[in-house]
Amino acid sequence: MVSIGRRHILKALVGTAGLALLSACAGAPAPTPTPAPAKPTPTPAAQPKVAPTPTPAATTPQRPGRVKITYWGSFSANLGEAEREVVNRFNQSQNEVEVEYQFQGSYEETAQKLTAALQARTQPEVSLLSDVWWFKFYLNRALAPLNDFFRAHNVDKNDYVDPLINEGIRKGQIYWVPFARSTPIFYYNKAAWQEAGLPDRGPETWEEFKTWVPKLLKKDSSGKVTRYAFAHPGAASYIAWLFQCVVWQWGGAYSDPDFKIRIAEPPAVQAGEFYRSTTVEGWASTPQNIDNEFRGGIAAAIMGSTAGLAGHEKNAQFPVGTAFLPKGPAGFGCCTGGSGLAILAATPPDKQEAAFKYIKFATSTETTIFWSQNTGYMPVRKSAIESPAMQEFYKQRPNFQTAVRQLPLTRPQDVARVFIPNGDQIIGKGLERIVINKEPADTVFKDVAATLEKEARPVLRQLQAVEG
């Protein structure tokens, strides 16, 4: 009641001001007092003129009796087209629920807008959240637990690829359902490989790759490098995701699940020193965008997201090869990434039900096949991977098979990167200091560990309150 009253007063206030302003705009400069402020009722200017018109983008006709829910996502361009198609298929497949997909910018912008919307109580029913953002909303009790829905709708949790679904489970409850997931993979330039006389495969270990480096590195007569053997992302984002794998390959970790920070321990420092050696020895470049560097043939190999595979195959000037990540002194290590779907806890029960129907559809075996083939994201369902359609697809696109074969070997990322606010950026800036400024890894990681520990404290307090 009170809020409605305040709303009307505000409308009247701002509305009349707006009207006065507009009439002053249009009129002559003569000082005519506008009659508008005398009226106590909200002025016409205050009424939303265009607000509730149906969007032309919504392709399905409105059917009465359908529960309408809104879904916020970060997919644009061809990913956005594929996402719209998923939503359209869902809307056409049944008569109970109608989903409207609303694009909200990048992962970061979507999360920021969701933060504001939660305060204003204008949040959607379903939102896409990236690996580094969903936990923040979980901590603030903004996400609905989904176990009951999984049970009621007969969705088999065990059919989801284990490392992917496990990442979104807290205290046995599912909060975050894997949807657009990717992992790092090793890409190499087959033409450069051939020129260097290397076997047509990725390196087994980083040691082996180092023996290949002299053959891959190319310089012109003045000594300027014309082709690097490898490339690291030169900006703080993205690099901490890739280095996560390398830390594991060296037997270290960013942190333990209980938020004990381990990045300053010897194995992680040694992995950092390996990264530093790549630029000190001058065989790895640090461009802003490693995808462009690889496609342009400036770097012969990169670690990159599986989601970039289709783009590499399409745009590179040479045949693209893929391989598992090389092993380090402690063996193999590879993490998952990407984004998943969640239902906002503030959603009323009937709409939560409707929202889950969409999530069930979007991560079903059939949709997974469509989505994975059209975007290059990892299939999130085991039954999808085993399906004849996917197997046929892999036969035609062997590079995609590399990514899927590597998938069972991956594991969820350490909490320091994904659950500590800005953890990704804190580690990324540290890595930037190591590969670009060439500072020793132990001093840098000591700083990083101190910052992470400080930032982890409020998270731990909140976690205690939420999980006990």
Binding site: S3, R6, R7, L10, K11, V14, G18, L21, L22, A24, C25, P29, A30, P31, A46, K49, V50, A51, T53, T55, P56, A57, T70, S74, F75, S76, A77, N78, L79, G80, E81, E100, Q102, F103, Q104, G105, E109, Q112, K113, A116, Q119, A120, R121, T122, S182, N289, D291, R295, G296, G297, S305, A307, G308, A310, G311, K314, N315, Q317, T375, G376
Partner: protein, 290 residues
């Protein structure tokens, strides 16, 4: 005599050389500046006519090897750009006009009227200038939500009518006008609005045009607020349309993005070319009169 003439001639030659050198340096600097601004634009123009694959070729080609026009319809069709144009135009025209009016009136008051705590008011405006816009986004969003203005034109326009920067700029310009002219107008019996309309504004034409241009460009290119305050495609503006062309996972079709960028900046280019005349003529007119 002759022996004296030689150094004189040499000196003249040296001066000539020096002048030549200065001219040459000037041209080099100018060329450098033009290249700095122009090369990215040129790249954009050239990329808009290339297939994505060619854009990734290194070293880059400046003239498209296989020129294509396909990027333009592709960009236009991938999002409702017609609607975006309409929205951007509405928001820019109403937003800039409202802002300009606000700025002119408040700057006039700050420059010529006497009222209590005037310096304090100016200080508050200056302080508002220092607040980064990102900070105010959440409070604005909450207010708009209270008003029920999310996803509306009011929501797009009204929060951006605050004018610290334009007020500050115009106030400084108004203060630099010759006091005598305004006194003379007062003696002739002109009221404040008359003085503003017939004396102050014509005299400040260059700065007025400059401020308007700045306002228009900022509104036209504004990204974050329109993204936050609107939800549906039919309420969105051009910069969000460009963003829609980008791909989260790095598979962006740059040719399409560049084509889209071209038709976003084209209206601004035209406005700039037209407005430039007024800035120059304004300055010249002022110089002759005073």
């Amino acid at each position: 005599m002759a022996s004296r003439a030689v150094p004189w001639v040499l000196g003249r030659q040296r001066a000539g050389l020096r002048r030549w050198g200065a001219v040459l340096l000037g041209y080099l600097a100018m060329g450098g500046a033009v290249a700095l601004v122009g090369v990215p634009l040129l790249w954009m123009l050239s990329a808009a006519f290339k297939e994505t694959k060619e854009i990734y070729v290194f070293p880059s080609t400046w003239i498209p090897q296989e020129p294509t026009l396909a990027n333009f319809p592709r960009a236009w069709q991938s999002a409702p750009f017609g609607r975006y144009y309409l929205n951007s135009t509405i928001v820019t025209v109403l937003g800039s006009l409202g802002k300009l009016l606000n700025a002119v009136l408040s700057a006039y008051a700050l420059a010529y009227l006497r009222f209590p705590a005037k310096d304090l008011v100016f200080l508050v405006i200056l302080a508002a200038l220092m607040v980064p816009p990102q900070v105010t986004i959440v409070p604005w969003y909450l207010l708009m939500s209270d008003l029920g203005w999310i996803n509306t034109y009011q929501g797009l326009i009204v929060p951006e009518l605050g004018v610290a920067f334009a007020t500050f700029l115009l106030r400084q310009a108004f203060l630099s006008l010759p006091r005598e002219v305004i006194e003379a107008a007062k003696v002739d019996g002109a009221g404040h609005l008359r003085i503003l309309w017939s004396v102050v504004l014509p005299l400040s034409q260059p700065v007025l045009v400059t401020v308007t241009l700045l306002l228009v460009v900022t509104r036209w290119n504004e990204f974050l607020w329109p993204l936050i305050i609107t939800n549906t495609a039919d309420m969105r503006t051009l910069p969000i349309g460009i963003f829609w062309l980008l791909d989260q996972e790095g598979n962006t079709q740059w040719g399409v993005v560049m084509a889209g960028t071209i038709f976003v900046i084209l209206p601004l280019l035209v406005i700039f070319l037209l407005a430039q005349r007024f800035i120059v003529s304004g300055i010249a007119a002022g110089a002759v009169k005073t």
